[in-house]
Every structure is written in C-alpha cells, then in structure tokens.
C-alpha cells in the first residue's frame, strides 16, 4: 500500500522496496554501523520536487511511518542511517542551484544540491560560500545545514549555519514553510531576521528531526585573496595551543586546520601525492589560510600570522601545504578524507585488511586543547591499547573555539576489537563532556548522557519537536 502510494507520487522509477536498494542505504561513515542498532528502511523514495516531498510526508504522517531524510550519506555523524525503518527519502534529485544574486550576495539552492556545485558556481562569480571544500563532491547543502557543517574558512565567518538567511522546509505533516526575508509576499532571500523569533535556528543542526530543508538561501562573501601557510611543531601541544589561540584572537586568521603527524603522513601511504617531507622532529602541523580583500591587507595579516607562529616556536614548513595537497590541487579536497577514512592507514599486520574508522566532532574552548588531546590519546592508546599510529587528529578553528575531529581506527572484522572500541568510544566522549566539551551531533552517535546533561534545554527541545512532529516520525529514534 505505502509503496503504491509512493510510486503514484514520484513515479515507479523513483520509489522502491528492493532489498538491495534498502540495504545499500545502511552504509555509513558513522560508527553507527558497528555499535548502534540500525534498521533497514522499508522503502526508498526519490522526490524530485517539493510538492512530491510534501505528499510523501503526508503519506508518512497518515500511516505513522518513520521517515529518514538522507543526503549524500557521507557524514561521520549519526543522522544518515535509519533507526526505525520506514521510508528513506533520498534528496539527490533536488539538486539545482536556483539563483545566485551577485548584488545581494546570496545563493539559493535546493536542499539536495551538492555543496561543491554551489562552491564552484559561486567561485566563477567571484563569491565564496565559506564551507570546507574538502568534503568531497557528494555532500549536500541541506544536510550540511542539518549538521551545521564545519571545515576550512569558518574561523572568521562562522559555520555554515551562520550563513543561512532563508529556508524552505517541509514539516512532518507535509506543510511547506518559508523562513527568512524570502517569506514575505514581495520579499527576496537576503536577510534572516524578520520580526519574529529566529525559527531558522530550529532547523540548523537539527539532524533532520525538525523538518526537511528543500530550499536554502545562504549569504556569500566576496572571494578574498588568500595565502596558504604551513607551520610545524614538535610534540609540544601547549605551544601549538598558544599559537592557535593567538591566531584566532589577534590575527583573525581565516582558517586553521591542525593535524598530528599520523594524519599528515597517512597521505604518504596512498602515494598519490608527492612525498611529504615533514621533518622528523615535527609532530603537529598547522595548515593556515589567511585572507584579505587587497594585497596590502593580505600582506599585513599574513605577516602577523607568521609572527605569532614563530614566537610560539612554530617552524615554517614552506611549501608543505602543496605537498600535502599534491598536484593537481584538487586531490586534497577530494581524496584526503576519503583516504584517511578508508585507505590511508596501512594494516598493522601483513595480509590484514584495511581498517575501519570512526571520527567524532566535539567542541571546546581553544585553550582546552591540550587536555582534550590528552584524554583522547590516553583513553585510546594507553587504556584501550590501540596502536598510537592509529590515533589521527585534526580539527578546525572556529572563532573562539576549536573543533577537534579526531579519528580512531579499528579492525571491523574482529569482534573483540569492535567491542573494545565501543567501550572506548563511550568512555572518551563522557570524559570529554565532563571537562566541558560539547558534541553538536544530533543522534545516537554519542552517549545519551551528553544530551541529558544539557538539562532543561534538552527537554524544551523535545517539546518543540512535538509541535512540528507530533507522531515522532522524522529521524525517529534519534532524539
């Protein structure tokens, strides 16, 4: 019945209950695959228009069927697999850029539009949407807003959620709502705040639990002049942290990405980039982007950034950025994460298969970095006895904070290792939370205590959600 309803809405080619299709949507980069109960969706559907999507939601509400909206499925966060079965909505076909208004400096795109497509079209017009281009070709803008994506460029401008000026959302009931200045009868998308409380904020970082973003409007920046610097430090995280903090506070650095040695060298293993010549005494590598609107501004800011790094014992690694990136330049953006996640680490034993990874994202004030790093390392390596070379660290500067994005590896075919890793995963997050770190991930990827420790805020969020989704069908089980 439900399948025939879906087929009548989207066409037979765009709805299915084939086992291979349903099961293929349970692949995820998230550790959910190993540690958390997932369910195979019962149906998969590809709406091509917002009206079709709204009709699908009305079917789901009428039949009280759980719904998961999935973007590219490439997130390491937990929101891209079904926890309760039901209908999985794939937004790949709602992938158009609707408008780039150069004067208003706004882009409007469908929710399933790949971020790289937006980046490219804006780049061609001298405009920048400041989100990380390293997230490969697949991630979609709606899902990136639902997870409030991070990456390069965010330190000065804020995260993707800060760039949103308008949304069109489909609620669980099938109602379509436009938010931001574009909601006005005669309005256009250019401004977020419209004389009512900021409802847009309810959907950012919502993990698909509040509504489905079918259209997004984002403000853009003028494409700045950029300088790329690479600095290295020995295994002295306090010096690194001090430099990191000063770069954020005093230099208004455009972007910082902080890697540990394992992360930087993992690219060597795939031998697709020129051999990285990170000196043996270097343990931490900072990839910096400084930006300015004029050459003069860029020069001043870059000089300031260099001075900060060097007075904090940083060593200029020259063109190491290009080596890590490797020609052609786009390998960095497309291969880096893919390699790290899957192929960049050599198995620990000859003949052993490659390793699986789980990466997490937490936030902390920049000055807490040494403690956060220490907890990650000690828990993974010392307590749970995983190899130290499988402890990969990277993270991004985000204004007054740092977003560590550590990656941990384990053998996904070894039941004992999976169990041990599961215990580690839970423990390290709780330890981080106890020193003040926050996870921004919506869903079950992190221990539930981390949400419950939010206190009344968490309870109020659930009440608001009940208003939007009284039957609790959207990403059911995640909240």
């Amino acid at each position: 019945m439900i399948l025939s309803d879906l087929e009548s809405i989207v066409g037979e080619d765009y709805a299915t209950n084939a086992e291979t299709t349903r099961k293929s949507y349970t692949l995820t980069q998230s550790p959910n695959l190993f540690f958390f109960p997932m369910k195979v969706p019962d149906y998969v559907v590809y709406p091509q228009t917002v009206d079709q999507l709204a009709s699908v939601m009305r079917v789901a509400t009428r039949t009280r069927t759980a719904v998961l909206v999935r973007g590219s499925g490439s997130s390491s966060m937990s929101g891209n697999v079904s926890l309760e079965g039901g209908i999985l909505i794939d937004l790949k076909h709602m992938d158009k850029i609707l408008e780039i208004d150069e004067e208003r400096m706004v882009v409007v795109a469908e929710g399933g539009c790949p971020c790289n497509k937006i980046l490219r079209e804006c780049y061609n017009k001298g405009l920048l949407l400041p989100i990380g281009p390293e997230w490969q070709s697949a991630p979609q803008i709606g899902a990136n807003i639902a997870t409030n994506a991070t990456g390069h460029y965010i330190n000065r401008t804020g995260r993707l959620g800060d760039m949103v000026v308008g949304l069109e959302v489909v609620l669980a009931t099938g109602e379509i709502v436009t938010l931001g200045s574009g909601a006005y009868k005669w309005g256009a998308h250019y401004h977020r705040y419209t004389g009512i409380p900021d409802l847009i904020g309810l959907f950012i970082n919502s993990g698909g639990t509040m509504g489905i973003m079918t259209k997004v409007a984002l403000r853009l920046l003028n494409w700045p002049k950029m300088a790329h610097l690479t600095y290295g430090w020995p295994d002295k995280i306090r010096d690194v942290t001090k430099a990191h903090y000063e770069l954020q506070r005093y230099a208004e650095i455009f972007s910082i990405e902080l890697l540990n040695r394992n992360t930087a060298l993992s690219l060597e293993n795939i031998q697709l980039t020129p051999r990285i010549k990170i000196p043996d005494d270097i343990f931490f590598v900072m990839l910096l982007i400084q930006a300015g609107q004029t050459d003069e501004e860029l020069e001043v800011r870059t000089k300031q950034a260099r001075e900060i790094c060097e007075r904090n014992a940083g060593k200029d690694l020259g063109d190491a950025w290009e080596r890590i990136a490797g020609p052609p330049r786009y390998w960095w953006y497309t291969m880096y994460c893919d390699t790290l996640y899957g192929g960049g680490l050599k198995p620990t034993k000859p003949g052993a298969i490659g390793l699986n990874s789980a990466c997490t994202m937490i936030y902390c004030p920049t000055t807490m970095l040494p403690k956060v790093y220490e907890i990650g390392y000690k828990t993974y390596v010392t307590k749970y006895n995983f190899p130290q070379e499988h402890f990969l660290w990277y993270g991004w500067a985000d204004r007054n904070a740092i977003g560590p994005y550590p990656m941990f590896f384990f053998n996904g075919t070894d039941e004992n290792q999976i169990a041990r890793f599961g215990e580690f995963w839970r423990e390290v997050h709780l330890e981080w939370a106890k020193i003040g770190c926050v996870s921004y991930n919506v869903g079950i990827g992190h221990p539930k205590e981390m949400r419950e420790w939010l206190g009344p805020a968490y309870e109020q969020m659930k009440k608001i959600r009940e208003v939007f989704d009284p039957n609790n069908i959207l990403n059911a089980g995640a909240v």
């Binding site: 293929s24 590219s72 992938d95 070709s137 893919d338 899957g342 960049g344």
Partner: protein
C-alpha cells in the same frame, strides 16, 4: 577468486560519495570529474547502482547478510559498465571488486543474466563471443595469405574477425605498408582473448582461453603483438601479464604503433577534409592510459580537424557496452548509455573516430536509433582511408 581477494576494498569503503558523481570533485575550477559520470546510477537512480553501493552489497554478500539471489542483486552487479571512472575518483579503486562480485555470484549459483551465460557458452564451445563457426574466424584473411609465424603478429579479436572485418583488413593493410616485415596471424588458432569470461564472472573460462592464446603466440615467435581492439589489448596488457608475469612479447595497440610512425614522420597520409571527434574507449583510455596516441594520429591527417567532446580522456563517458557484459545482459541500458554519448558527440561533430570495435558497434546502433547522420569509424579504418 571471488570476494575474498578484494576483502580489503569492500571492507574499507568510507561512503564518501565521490563515486556518486553529483557534484564537481574540484570546486575551484581546473580538472574535475564530470557530473553524472556513473551511467548505472544515472539510469537506475538508486544507491545500489553506485560504486559504493556495490562495494557495500559485496560486503554484505561476503558476510552472509544478503543472499546471492536477492532480488536485483544480480542486476546491480551486471549493470556496472566497468568504465573505470570510479577508479579515477576513489583511492580504493573499486572496479576490481565488481569483477570479484560477479565471480562470487556465479560461484554461489546466482541466476546470472542469460545473455552473459550464452556468451560464456559460446566461448567455451566455439572460442568466440558470438557463437559463430570457429572455422570462419579467419575468413576475412583468406586472400591475404598471412603466415602463422613472424616477429610481428596481429591479434584480430572476435569483433574484427566476425563483425567488422574491414577493421582487421585495414589494420593488416597499414601494418604491411609500414612495418617493413610480414605480418603473422594465428588464423583459426586465435581464440577469444578471454575478456568476456574475465568480466562476467567466469574467471575459469577466461583463464582457459588465455592459456590457449598465450601458448599459440609463444609458438609463433612473435616479439610484437598488435591489437586493433581496445578490449583485447587491455586484456593482454593487464590480465595476461597478471597471470603469466612479464609477457615474452610486446603488446601494443595499433594506435600506439601508428603514433610512433607519425612521430618518425614515416606515415604518408593524404589530405582529407573532415571535422571529427574522438571517443576514448574505456579499456584503451582509463584502463590502459592510452589517450594521446589516437589523437596524434587523427591530427596528423592533413585537413582533419579534431574537436573534443566535453567529456574526454580520463573523463570520457562510456559507450555502454560494458566489456560486452552489459550489452549481452541488459541491452536496453547499453543502448541508453550509448545514446547519451551520441548526443554528446552531436554537439561537436558528425563523425566519431574511436579505437575499439565494440564501441563502434554500440555507438552505431545508438546513432541509427536516433536516426542520426553520425558516422562512426574504427581508427584503423579511418587511417586506411587517408592512406589510399
């Protein structure tokens, strides 16, 4: 054989989505994979028809979490055109895993497509991909009196032998005029190169014919073996080498041979005014990294203007035949894919030159279906025309 040999690949797919092809791989200009490059995903829409979908289903099959005869699993496995673009965008290089998936399915008794089964049976019983009479394989060369032994041997392949003899004749004609020595040919001792078996899951069959051909070529004394078929060429360069180690002869495609002559300025080509585009066969281009040589040859013909299609070289879209497996198993999808390539070609030229007889056939079929005036040439035929 089967999925055990690719366990590392199927286990470590990170679900990055690079293989889905919905967004540019390079957002800031410069080289980037084209959008919509995965033919099966574009046609069938769903996740299972992507490289990562196939990798994951392979994992599930390997683990026992899906049965070989699960609905659509065979279709998912056999609609990969094996074009290799996913290998270009993914460090895991998943293509080999899809061969292994087909091996696994066949081994475990899955109901593989009738078309593929027939091709295997034809090769097994008649040593060619068409089920044609083995003795007529060398009919195209009847009047050429080619010796069975010699330092340069031409391996015609099934297509040139049975369906496009003009290509075989043109190749021999070119070789005889330029090689400075007689051209050997195995005649009816030449069997199918093994490609269909190697790519439809019947690895045993593929290896059996490889052993036959290898022995016959060794006995011929050939030091150079020339191919006009991209698929035969790739099979020898990669699969024969994989099985037998370093080959005791040099395997080259006629495009490489001719390109050398162009470089030496020893090819006499007459003026011929035509605007053409070149279709990179997947097995010559992406699989074997031969891109420049055919172009060099085409551009050396006085009066010929080469115009590239939007998706060319390593990003060339597939003709859809999928090593003949897709053509045999899902001909409607093969045609759908070829139609897209013809439409792309139409935007730049009315003539396509390519270097693979299977591409020629599939593209011709699509052009006819579109009632298009598009002319499609195999490279040796195009060059031979300019040498007349």
């Amino acid at each position: 054989m089967g999925l055990a040999r690719v366990a590392d690949r199927i286990w470590t797919c990170s679900s990055s989505g690079q293989c889905v092809g919905k967004g540019p791989t390079n957002p800031f200009g410069g080289a980037s994979a084209p959008l919509g490059f995965c033919a099966s995903h574009e046609r069938f829409k769903f996740e299972d028809y992507t490289a990562r979908g196939r990798l994951y289903l392979s994992r599930l099959l390997y683990q026992g979490n899906i049965e070989p005869n699960a609905k659509d699993l065979v279709k998912v496995a056999y609609t990969c055109t094996t074009c290799g673009i996913c290998d270009e965008v993914c460090t895991l290089r998943p293509l080999e895993a899809f061969r292994a998936l087909r091996e696994e399915l066949l081994e475990r008794g899955a109901l593989i497509p009738e078309g593929s089964k027939k091709v295997s049976e034809d090769i097994r019983t008649r040593h060619n991909a068409f089920g044609a009479i083995p003795e007529s394989r060398s009919k195209w060369a009847q009047e050429l009196n080619l010796p069975k032994k010699g330092t340069i041997l031409y391996f015609a392949g099934c297509y040139a032998s049975y369906r496009q003899p003009e290509s075989a004749k043109a190749t021999v004609d070119i070789l005889e005029k330029t090689a400075g020595t007689g051209i050997a040919y195995l005649g009816n001792e030449e069997w199918c190169c093994g490609l269909p078996g190697l790519w439809n899951g019947d690895r045993d069959l593929g290896e059996k014919v490889m052993e036959h051909n290898f022995e016959r070529i060794e006995n011929s004394g050939a030091k150079t073996v020339v191919f006009s078929c991209a698929e035969c060429y790739r099979t020898f360069k990669i699969d024969y080498q994989g099985k037998f180690g370093k080959l005791p002869f040099r395997a080259i495609h006629v495009a490489e041979f001719l390109s050398q002559l162009v470089g030496e300025k020893s090819l006499k080509l007459n003026k011929h005014e035509e605007k053409v585009t070149y279709h990179d066969p997947c097995f010559l281009g992406r699989h074997s990294n031969v891109y420049d040589e055919p172009r060099k040859i085409i551009e050396s013909i006085p009066g010929v203007r080469l115009v590239e299609m939007e998706n060319n070289r390593r990003w060339a879209f597939c003709c859809g035949s999928g090593a003949g497996v897709v053509q045999a198993s899902y001909p409607e999808f093969a045609r759908w894919t070829a139609n897209k390539r013809i439409m792309e070609a139409k935007r730049v030229a009315d003539t396509i030159v390519t270097a693979c007889p299977r591409c020629v056939e599939n593209l011709k079929r699509a052009a006819k279906e579109q009632e298009s005036k598009m002319t499609i040439y195999d490279l040796p035929v195009f060059v031979a025309k300019a040498m007349q």
